[in-house]
Amino acid sequence: MSDKIRTTHGGSLPRPAALIEMNRARSEGQPVDERALAECLAASVAEAVRLQKAAGIDIPDDGEFGKATTQAFDYGAWQSYIFARVSGFSPAAEVPKERLRRAGSHGVALGRFRDRRDWKSFGEFYQDPEGGPFAGKLGETRGGGIGGARRPVCSGPIRYTGHAALKADIDNLKAALAAAGMTQGFMCSVAPGSCARTEDAFYKSDEEYVYAIAEALREEYKAIVEAGLTLQLDDPGLPDSWDMANPEPPLEAYKKFARLRIEAMNHALRGLPSERIRYHICWGSWHGPHVTDIPLADIVDLVLAVKAGEYSIEAGNVRHQHEWRVWQEAKLPEGKVLVPGVVSHATNVVEDPEVVAERLVRFAGVVGRDNVIAGTDCGLGGRVHPQIAWAKLRALGEGARLASRQLWRSA
């Protein structure tokens, strides 16, 4: 038990320009010096850990730098990376349309980004060529592998094939931690339910499809935990698939759909120590209105069913900030920790450290100061400008210091 509020974040950090450039060249099929890329990646991770430490982050990660991005704004790398690390997926254009089955079960069938109810309610906004003040960023979300002929769909048996890339990520982070004199670090990996959202043309049922992904991802989960790192499972799919089902499904049907995915994930986590596992949910990180987000209160029982020690949840944006009150009713089990988002990618304005502190003190008041780690709504990298992302992490560090002073003063 520490005598302060510890700090971490949602994972993604701004990639250095050189790294983006090499990954872009590679994705376009240009010859790339693989050794130079590997060295650039290792050096970038070392620098990112150093910067996180300087910002006051106690539990850093590798910035997800091993998850390739090819442009500065990229909302999808947290999940798109996995298609280079598993077999069984092909571009939709290469699979006969009639064989494709939309992901989903219990009467819940997932549409594409444009089928979202939020999208439908705010169609003019989403399709405005100027895109409102966040033009340029939102535009890239649309093409980010979510829709279109190049989207990956399942067309064969799913197996984990990413061992080399994963090992490089783990080695890079461990070396960076050692160089910075730090002991704790975390690494992100996509949750089965968030991966199994594309169409399937191979498995006999949704259940089989989800479990096949879970079983493949287990290799990644195991390796991260066995390396001594905290595994962060990224699962926006739990809350934000709700909005992809159009029309709105009955809540009970949706919960059955979601429970199947959580059971598959727990199956993939079997035997792994829960205190080394952090479960992250958010409602999708694009800069939209989010009026159709499912309330946390409706799914909190499902969240707590995940065999994790920490729960990282959006709480720093205006759609979910009031949900700290959910924890007045839903009891956080003994020994579990909440990682609320207290700074957010949803605005360019940098949180005042006093705002961060106020939010943390509020959470500490509900679940106890020892059960709160300060976090972010989502990864900041690729979602706000790099200078803003780092300023927000510094505000997080400073705000946690202010909150700690208040919370431990009386002790």
């Binding site: 205006v318 900030q321 957010s344 304005v349 006093e354």
Partner: protein, 380 residues
């Protein structure tokens, strides 16, 4: 009163037809009159208690336009001409812009809205108010739209002298001080006209706090800023002297562009100055992450009897639409420190031109729904 009333800060999305007239620099009068009637109707239908004309009489050229609240005055003051400015223009000494130079140069969300402003309307001869006909037109349109409704439940915005100082440099008067007083004297005419029409006059005064970042934060320091700001409040009060206090609403915000706002002057250090402005109500940003904690200032600083606070409980600073429960939580916090009868639900800044039209209206809906939730709990 048995509930929390609702209002907003002024700018609402312009309808495409009106926007087009402005773009063509055509005569807007008939389009404007019907657009104002429609926007008043829509606000009332939504449940906004204290409505306005959406600032539709203030010309815009694009759907996203951050500047109309101040640039409208170009057509209403004489004594200015367009001039080129040195590199960086009027923002060249901003600390926020220096600290986040890469962001301001590269990011799509500010690129077109906050350029370095290499040109400006510069004061080159005596400043005079010439907008009599335009302000009369706006007041008339609003009166007609209210259709016998109570004028006091409607407001009209007008730019503050310090904001004009901030955006329109002086090259004529011997000192900045002298320029400030001349602008205040000229603007008094607009303020008085609005007051005489029986509407609530809203003074838009980001200038007061924005100038801390633009002129003082990097070199001149806080003491010099305070002296400067105190003089601006005196100038403003002079300009307001023709309007009854209870009919004045003072709006302070820290600038509406989508930047980091890392150098915003803390409300706690200027709240005493704000309260020196002769007004019956104070409209303040409180719904964005730089000012969300400002409610706590009112635990220390006493709001004088009879005055009201209009905290921003929905904001232009994010596309995410506020959850009504969050709106209610914010209002209850203010009611707790200022008293439930002294709080009116507002926005951080005008929503029109700062977020997409669909989002702007959705945020006003959230504002009304949140005020209803808060009222139920506060007045039960």
């Amino acid at each position: 009163m048995s509930r929390i009333l609702t209002t907003h800060v002024g700018s609402l999305p312009r309808p495409p037809a009106l926007l087009e007239r402005y773009r063509q620099r055509a005569d807007v009068s008939s389009e404007l009159r019907s657009a104002v009637a429609e926007v008043v109707r829509r606000q009332r239908e939504l449940g906004i208690d204290i409505v306005n004309d959406g600032e539709y009489g203030k010309a815009v050229r694009r759907a996203i336009d951050y500047g109309a609240w101040a640039s409208y005055i170009y057509e209403r003051l004489s004594g200015y001409e367009v001039r080129d400015l040195p590199d960086g223009g009027i923002l060249r000494r901003s600390k926020d812009r220096a600290d986040f130079a890469a962001f301001y140069a590269e990011d799509g969300s500010v690129k077109e809205t906050v350029q370095a402003r290499p040109r400006a309307m510069v004061c080159t001869s005596a400043v005079r108010y010439t907008g009599q006909a335009l302000v009369a037109r706006d007041l008339d349109n609003l009166r007609a739209a209210l259709d016998g409704g109570k004028a006091t439940a409607a407001f009209v915005t007008s730019v503050s002298p310090s904001s004009i100082e901030a955006l329109q440099p002086n090259a004529h008067y011997r000192s900045q001080e002298e320029y400030g007083w001349a602008v205040a004297e000229a603007m008094k005419e607009e303020y008085t006209a609005i007051g005489n029409a029986g509407f609530t006059l809203q003074i838009d005064d980001p200038g007061l706090v924005v100038l801390w970042d633009w002129w003082f934060a990097r070199e001149r320091g806080w003491a010099e800023y305070r002296k400067f700001a105190e003089a601006r409040v005196e100038m403003l009060n002079h300009a307001l002297s023709g309007v009854p206090e209870e009919r004045i609403r003072y709006h302070l915000c820290w600038g509406s562009w989508h930047g980091p706002h890392s150098t915003d002057a803390p409300l706690g250090k200027v709240a005493d100055l704000v309260l020196k402005v002769r007004a019956g109500a104070y409209s303040l940003e409180a719904g964005n992450v730089r000012h969300e904690h400002d409610w706590a200032v009112w635990r220390e600083v006493k709001l004088p009897a009879g005055k009201r606070l209009i905290p921003g409980v929905v904001s232009h600073s994010t596309n995410v639409v506020e959850h009504p429960e969050l709106v209610a939580e914010r209002l209850e916090r203010y009611a707790d420190v200022a008293g439930r009868d002294h709080v009116i639900a507002g926005t951080d800044c005008g929503l029109g031109g700062r977020v997409h039209a669909q989002i702007a209206w959705a945020k006003l809906e959230a504002l009304v729904a949140g005020a209803a939730l808060a009222s139920k709990r506060l007045f039960r």
